[in-house]
């Protein structure tokens, strides 16, 4: 199958980007990234610079890959990362536009690669439980109700890819941040610090330049792991409670 690609090229963060046209001979069994490999092999054989894109595990769990394909983060299939998307989702002769995540807090590094270290800094602001190695009690000393644990796990499945930000018209990181707040705060081990955690993480999120949430729900629709916006509601409630009622404000 022939694919007409329009790929975002940008030499670095300072330079101006543009869409570049390429023809790729693909096979319907290829993954989308393997199709990109074919393009790059072709560019290298012509001694041109290959398209830089982020990828690693290629099985949908590391959260590295991040392409906006025909306007949709991770492409047309639901519940899939870019690396899990296959070319059979496209037709022979299709034109496919490939762009990086677009958000102020995710500046472009080169071509399709963006800087997502803002996510790391949100976690560093409080996305953890303060326990040193060796301080733990026996694992079974804290029983946790099965449903509650499952709810925490649903939130913990976030892979930190940033599709939620890319999908959001305001480039908000509320889904990412709230998933961690919900994961930790739902479990008794994490409840202790929840009040300061939610304030610190939200504060950092704002500092990084992510936008506000206006409840469009695009984040949930595009999330490859199906993280629910229920987490956002939970975080909003806890944030309000924490700011108004907490003994400590961050």
């Amino acid at each position: 199958m022939k694919i007409h690609l329009k790929v975002w090229r940008q030499r670095n963060g300072e330079s101006k980007g543009y869409l570049e046209d390429h023809q790729v001979e693909a096979d319907e069994h290829m993954s989308f990234l393997e199709m990109m490999d074919v393009l790059n092999e072709d560019l290298v054989s012509k001694k041109e610079t290959p398209v830089a894109f982020e990828h690693d595990c290629r099985e949908g769990i590391c959260g590295s890959c991040n392409m906006v394909i025909n306007g949709q983060p991770h492409g047309p299939d639901s519940g899939t990362t870019t690396c899990q998307l296959h070319m059979r989702s496209f037709k022979d002769g299709d034109t496919v536009v490939v762009e990086p995540w677009r958000a102020v807090a995710f500046p472009v590094i080169k071509d399709l690669i963006v800087d997502r270290s803002s996510f790391d800094r949100i976690i560093q602001a409080g996305g953890y439980i303060s326990v040193n190695t060796g301080q733990a009690q026996d694992g079974n000393a804290i029983p946790i109700e099965k449903g509650r644990s499952a709810f925490a796990m649903d939130a913990a499945e976030c892979i930190g890819c940033g599709a939620c930000v890319a999908a959001c018209p305001n480039a908000s990181a509320m889904l990412f941040t709230s998933a961690k707040v919900a994961h930790l705060g739902t479990m008794p081990q994490g409840e202790v610090e929840q009040s300061t955690r939610v304030q610190s993480m939200v504060k950092q999120m704002d500092l990084e330049g992510f936008g506000m949430c206006s409840n469009t729900g695009a984040c949930e629709a595009e999330c490859p792991k199906g993280i629910s916006i229920t987490n956002i509601a939970l975080m909003n409630r806890q944030y309000a409670g924490s700011v108004l009622g907490s003994e400590k404000s961050v």
């Binding site: 670095n12 096979d27 319907e28 069994h29 290829m30 993954s31 990234l33 490999d37 074919v38 092999e41 290298v44 054989s45 001694k47 290959p50 830089a52 982020e54 690693d56 595990c57 290629r58 099985e59 769990i61 590391c62 959260g63 590295s64 899939t80 899990q84 296959h86 590094i109 997502r116 270290s117 996510f119 790391d120 976690i123 560093q124 602001a125 953890y128 439980i129 326990v131 040193n132 190695t133 060796g134 301080q135 733990a136 694992g139 079974n140 029983p143 109700e145 099965k146 644990s149 925490a152 796990m153 913990a156 499945e157 892979i159 930190g160 994961h183 930790l184 479990m187 081990q189 994490g190």
Partner: protein, 664 residues
């Protein structure tokens, strides 16, 4: 060179406790002045860096990823073993120790494995405290499941994403130390050299991948936790970026590569579908509980399938060879990984493979669907159900058990595994070999330590399921924080290491020259094409079955390929810029050397054990034949461009009797 394992004296059960109680420690006021470099942020690296930070050391931590959370530990699915005996089913530290040594086909170091089994219990406690959402029972307590090769339920899990959840736990602990200023994190930095001063490891040269500039980083000691080297085979279940470079550069500075030929090849992966394929995907081992593995009896049938003229459904029951059930009646389709993988290869070598490439076997659920369908009909009170009804009921049961895996298979292959048997083939998954370390996880270079999959110590010649996560976290949380003491306690008077010393400047210069050399070749072939060719040589001559002749030939082919690489590779761009092709080239250059040592190691080991199968050393029935008399040793290789040299550490088995593994 004499390899000193430094195993403490005393009984195996109390060795670690006694040693820990008496070893030299570093006082808190001194810890503040001592710097530690940790390379890698997978389970071992992240847990070590976080723990060092908590203890008060000054830590610098490095990853080539954009974030520590992306390390490939994240992709581990099944679970993590621990001798908690929460199920009251007879588990104990000794049993976990025994299972691991036996599973490794008696080629691991007893004392290290026993310590691993001891600390396994602490890992679960620590992870629960960090908020890892392990699976739970209705009563709120931790759930367990069974894994291959053992008779107890000791595997803890978080759905099919145990690795992800454990890594996020370690990543969060690390993030906390970063926020407290105890750990300085260097993302997108790749270690390209080890710096030694007066024979001790004193820092690294790392390339800032964004600017392309090599930078000098000094410390009092260096800890490598950089994972396995399965990608030397090009196609594997490893992530695309997984590589041997940090470990290999340390080997080139005098560390030793131990047992590099021990590779775990996992039997149930989705087969290669074309030349363009970049990686392989694992299908859980649990599928072999209900799937039957077969190939056609007749080569003509297999060829017709390969040409696309027939499908599995056209092959009569009597024309099918359920070869695992035939060869291993006692264990059938549930033989261990190494045995199942080899048997699949034998079938395909006979020309009976069932895909376009001839490299696949069937994993068939039709019998399970029939069986479950009939019993479902009985339990639902349906009398005289027709075939369609039975299949409908049976498929529902299979869906409930394996639905997510079937869906994943269908997503990748676009074939419906309920109707058409899955096609599977073995793939490289894990490397048991790695940098040689002693009981302290210290290499033969003083001050250089190595953890997790990157070292060789705990899994012998074959790793059991759910033990990789256990080892990574054991090393990082509960071993290295102590065992770094004997070295660092002697360094409390050593001032801050000078990054402008001649050794650092020389290493930096050498690193830059290596990178420049790659760019300057300006040949005609891509890095990828060399990597692919190397992978094929490795797979052909150092894969599931090896023999002396092939290994010699393979070694020569790698040497030729390496020469060709340095003559004709094309690397675009410049050194001092963000240049992913250059990163790849530098890693493939290292694989091209490692591959040769793997061939040599496999050639040196005139026996078959675990993942290492030499066709010359097989029983009459074609099973692996170990030679404990001559080969109960660790082969640790010193790199040399002309002739790498082997050093041996003899393995002593005092607490476990050496036996033959049989699955018939």
């Amino acid at each position: 060179m004499e390899l000193k394992s430094n195993i403490p004296e005393g009984k195996i059960a109390t060795k670690w406790e006694n040693y820990r109680g008496k070893m030299n420690l570093v006082a808190p006021n001194n810890k503040r002045r001592l710097e530690i470099i940790v390379v890698g942020t997978g389970l071992a690296g992240a847990s070590a860096a976080a723990t060092f930070g908590e203890l008060g050391y000054k830590v610098k931590c490095f990853t080539f990823h954009d974030s520590p959370r992306r390390a490939h530990s994240i992709a581990a699915q099944g679970g993590i073993n621990a001798a908690k005996n929460y199920q009251n089913d007879g588990d104990s530290v000794y049993r976990l120790f025994y299972d691991t040594v036996k599973g490794g086909d008696y080629r691991s170091r007893e004392a290290n494995v026993h310590r691993l089994a001891e600390v396994s219990r602490n890992i679960i406690d620590q992870c629960v405290a960090q908020g890892v959402p392990f699976a739970r029972e209705y009563g709120g307590l931790l759930a367990n499941r069974s894994f291959g090769g053992v008779q107890v339920s000791r595997t803890f899990y978080a759905r099919g994403q145990t690795g992800q959840q454990l890594l996020l736990g370690a990543y969060q602990a690390l993030s906390r130390q970063i926020s407290l200023g105890n750990v300085e994190m260097y993302n997108r930095h790749e270690m390209l050299d080890l710096v030694k001063i007066d024979g001790k490891a004193r820092g690294i040269i790392a390339r800032n991948m964004l600017t392309g500039k090599s930078e000098r980083f000094p410390a009092h000691c260096v800890v490598l936790a950089t994972g396995g080297y399965g990608n030397v085979f090009y196609l594997s279940t490893n992530a695309m970026g997984s590589n041997v470079t940090a470990a290999w550069r340390a080997v080139k500075k005098g560390a030793l590569m131990a047992n590099p030929c021990y590779t775990q090849i996992h039997p149930t992966c989705i087969p290669v579908s074309g030349e363009y394929q970049s990686k392989l995907t694992l299908m859980s081992e649990s599928l072999r509980n209900d799937g039957r593995v077969w190939v056609p009896n007749k080569v003509e049938d297999a060829e017709a399938i390969q040409r696309g003229e027939k499908t599995a459904l056209d092959i009569e029951e009597s024309d099918r060879d359920y070869y695992l059930e035939r060869r291993y009646p006692a264990f059938g389709n549930l033989v261990p990984r190494d045995v199942a993988s080899r048997a699949a290869k034998v079938a395909c070598d006979e020309g009976k493979g069932v895909s376009k490439t001839g490299l696949a076997v069937y994993l068939d659920f039709a019998a399970a669907i029939q069986r479950y369908g009939k019993s479902a009909a009985i339990s639902q009170g349906i009398k005289n159900p027709n075939d369609d009804k039975i299949i409908e009921l049976g498929e529902a049961v299979v869906k409930e058990k394996y639905g997510n895996l079937f869906q994943m298979y269908e997503k990748i292959t676009a074939e419906n595994p309920y109707k058409m048997p899955m096609k599977i083939y073995p793939a490289v998954h894990y490397t048991m070999g790695g940098v040689w370390v002693d009981y302290n996880l210290e290499t033969n270079v003083p001050g250089l330590f190595c953890l997790g999959e990157a070292n060789f110590s705990d899994h012998g010649a074959n790793r059991l399921g759910a033990s990789a996560l256990m080892q990574g976290l054991a090393d990082g949380y509960f071993v290295i924080p102590y065992t770094v003491g004997p070295f660092l306690s002697k360094e409390i008077r050593t001032p801050q290491i000078d990054a402008n010393s001649p050794e650092f400047l020389a290493a930096e210069k050498e690193t830059n020259e290596k990178l420049e050399r790659l760019i300057k070749i300006q040949g005609n072939q891509s890095v990828e094409s060399f990597h692919r060719r190397l992978g094929k040589i490795m797979w052909e001559y150092c894969g599931m079955a090896r023999d002396a002749e092939g290994l010699k030939k393979g070694r020569q082919m790698i040497r030729d390929l390496r020469a060709e690489f340095y003559n004709d590779v094309f690397v675009p761009g410049e050194v001092n810029e963000f240049n992913p092709e250059l990163e790849k080239a530098s890693r493939v250059a290292d694989f091209l050397e490692l591959g040769e040592v793997m061939m040599l190691d496999a050639l040196d080991r005139d026996e078959s054990c675990g993942g290492h199968f030499r066709s010359e050393y097989a029983s009459e029935e074609g099973e692996a034949k170990r030679n404990d008399e001559d080969y109960a040793y660790v082969a640790a290789w010193e790199w040399d461009e002309i002739e790498p040299k082997v050093h041996k550490e003899h393995l002593e088995f005092k607490d476990i009797e050496l036996k033959t593994r049989s699955y018939k």
